[in-house]
């Protein structure tokens, strides 16, 4: 095929892809309402699609009148444009799925405000996605933004806010408690945005592992991935407190009676749960949660038990536990990560990134008891004021978690539940508590300022 024909063909392919995506976005926006920053992103995609379509038409003109070099350049430019839209494709669909009826809107708005108040990611905004998987995730925004800031996608992007793309499982679309796990994804977002783990640092890990492990590049990548997970956990606990840790413990895969071996086993992408919870507990103690009501929960006891497991009991990923060659390699990597100075470095990085946070313990101590009292009477806790101030969402969330995990004392007595022992009644009541707290968070968000 002559180059000019190939270009015409590529132009048509690109045009079809982009105009189809634009139509999908337009019809979704017309038929649904979206959280503010999701709508903002979708609107940006619409406008950028229009710009890209004009760019394609312009490339076709250039190729018709240009020499061989110009045609070759146009050919590469069209390939890059198609690739960038293929990339946007992966962002657009999960955002379209997450309309306001399917996400915990007040919580998402609060996370956006909360994160945007940190100096390191000043004014960042959260775009929420729904995922079919039973996992929370963070889409790497930083590089997407670099894609978007390049021509021809950049016309509308130059002064845009930082957007963080966080995904939650579709089954958790209305939960307050379990969605506190989004704060872990916030940790990944902060790592990505602020370049916590630099290429130089990766090289340094590589050189430290070189003597012990022959494929040190692969090992350094894995260790750095584990470090990223610990960093995200620490960020989450420092920002939202035990609500994150208890949501983590309450994940279906990690319920109380799970096999001990699972807690001890490292994954290819994640450190062992025992190590992760131990590091979280360190932060919780540093923030003096052990002196609060929270420490009376049986989950706190369980957390302490898991965190006390010895490092020497940790196990390599399941596929390598009986592998005579690879098992010692994984063990070396695990020991490397668990060195005190390495863990301290991760803690220090996370603390530095969140040094201007509001300490969750202070808010819980100020409002916790009153919020529990309100919830036990079935009252939306925004009515509980201290010096005229509504309770802060961080206090509401942690108090709700305490109230739920401590058995919702008092509430069963005043709410008409026909069969108190039925799971469906319990789940219904828990859902009500979460909705009341969600309403209180919304009240806080729209308060006069």
């Amino acid at each position: 095929m002559a180059l000019n024909d190939a270009i015409s063909h590529k132009c048509a392919t690109a045009y079809k892809l982009i105009s189809s995506l634009r139509d999908i976005v337009s019809s979704s926006r017309a038929g649904n309402s979206y959280p503010q920053w999701s709508d903002y992103f979708l609107s940006f995609c619409e406008r950028t699609a229009d710009e890209s379509l004009k760019y394609i038409e312009n490339r076709l003109e250039i190729s018709k009148s240009g020499d061989e070099i110009e045609c070759k350049i146009v050919n590469e430019q069209l390939s890059s444009l198609i690739q960038s839209w293929e990339m946007l494709h992966a962002f657009i669909n999960p955002v379209i799925a997450a309309d306001t009826l399917k996400v915990p809107h007040p919580l998402i708005s609060f996370i956006s405000e909360h994160i945007g108040s940190l100096n390191v990611v000043k004014d960042a905004k959260i775009v929420i996605e729904l995922t079919p998987e039973m996992n929370y995730h963070q889409h790497p925004l930083t590089k997407l933004r670099k894609v978007l800031t390049n021509p021809p996608l950049n016309k509308y992007y130059k002064k845009e806010p930082r957007l963080g793309f966080l995904g939650l499982p579709c089954s958790q679309s209305k939960s307050l408690f379990m969605n506190c796990q989004l704060y872990h994804e916030v940790g990944h977002f902060i790592a990505e945005e602020t370049g916590v783990f630099s290429t130089e640092w990766l090289d340094s890990i590589d050189s430290q592992l070189k003597g012990d492990i022959s494929n040190s590049g692969w090992a350094a990548n894995t260790v750095q991935t584990w470090m990223g997970e610990l960093f995200a956990d620490i960020i989450a606990v420092r920002l939202i407190g035990p609500a994150y840790t208890f949501a983590y413990i309450e994940q279906p895969k990690l319920l109380e009676n799970l096999p001990e071996k699972q807690i001890l086993t490292f994954g290819i992408d994640h450190p062992a749960d025992s190590l992760r919870l131990r590091e979280q507990l360190d932060i919780l103690k540093e923030d003096e949660w052990d002196k609060s009501q929270i420490s009376s929960l049986k989950q706190w006891e369980e957390l302490n038990r898991i965190a006390a497991i010895k490092q020497s009991d940790y196990l390599p990923p399941i596929d390598y536990q009986d592998d005579a060659v690879m098992k010692p390699v994984w063990e070396k990597m695990m020991s490397f990560l668990c060195q005190k100075d390495k863990l301290k470095e991760i803690h220090n990085l996370a603390k530095k990134k969140t040094e201007d946070r509001i300490r969750p313990t202070d808010l819980f101590n100020a409002y916790g008891e009153s919020i529990s009292e309100y919830l036990s009477h079935g009252v939306v806790p925004s009515a509980c004021r201290k010096n005229g101030e509504m309770p802060h969402p961080i206090a509401i969330i942690n108090s709700a978690v305490y109230f739920l995990l401590s058995g919702m004392k008092g509430l069963f007595d005043i709410v008409q539940v026909t069969e108190k022992d039925k799971i469906s009644s319990l789940v219904w009541l828990e859902h009500r508590v979460e909705m009341w707290c969600m309403k209180a968070i919304e009240d806080w968000l729209v308060r006069p300022r």
């Binding site: 590089k143 370049g195 916590v196 783990f197 290429t199």
Partner: protein
Amino acid sequence: MLGRRNIRDSMGYVTLGLFTSALLDELLKIKKNPGATPEHTQVIKLTIDSLNAIKSPKAVDKQSLPDLVFQDYQEVSTLRKTLSSFSKSIDDIVKTLNDICITSDSEKRSKDVYDAILFFMELAHRSIINAECTEERVPPGVKLLGSK
């Protein structure tokens, strides 16, 4: 199709491809009018700053870090491989780009523009191919040189 692979691992290459496309547009404009002394346009200046930052990441102003290109793991490795295939150094490319903007000799400018176009076309091509067949996985969190 990018959808077959981990998007994260392709993104650095896609970014590089897009940026190089923009730079090639600038170079084409100069090629069409070699008699006029071109300005250090934003894209050319950003290219020069970014190339210089690879050589001395510590000297980079942290404020300008997010704007720079060629700072991601994949961008740098693709750039290095292209430099090697042309037997050129970063300094050679910076000099060519600077010369294009300052020389009053239009013949020299035409030659420099042609050389620069060939180099960045190859870089664009490599980034497009690499985006389709990602060579190196980047660990989550790794972002820029000198950004710890």
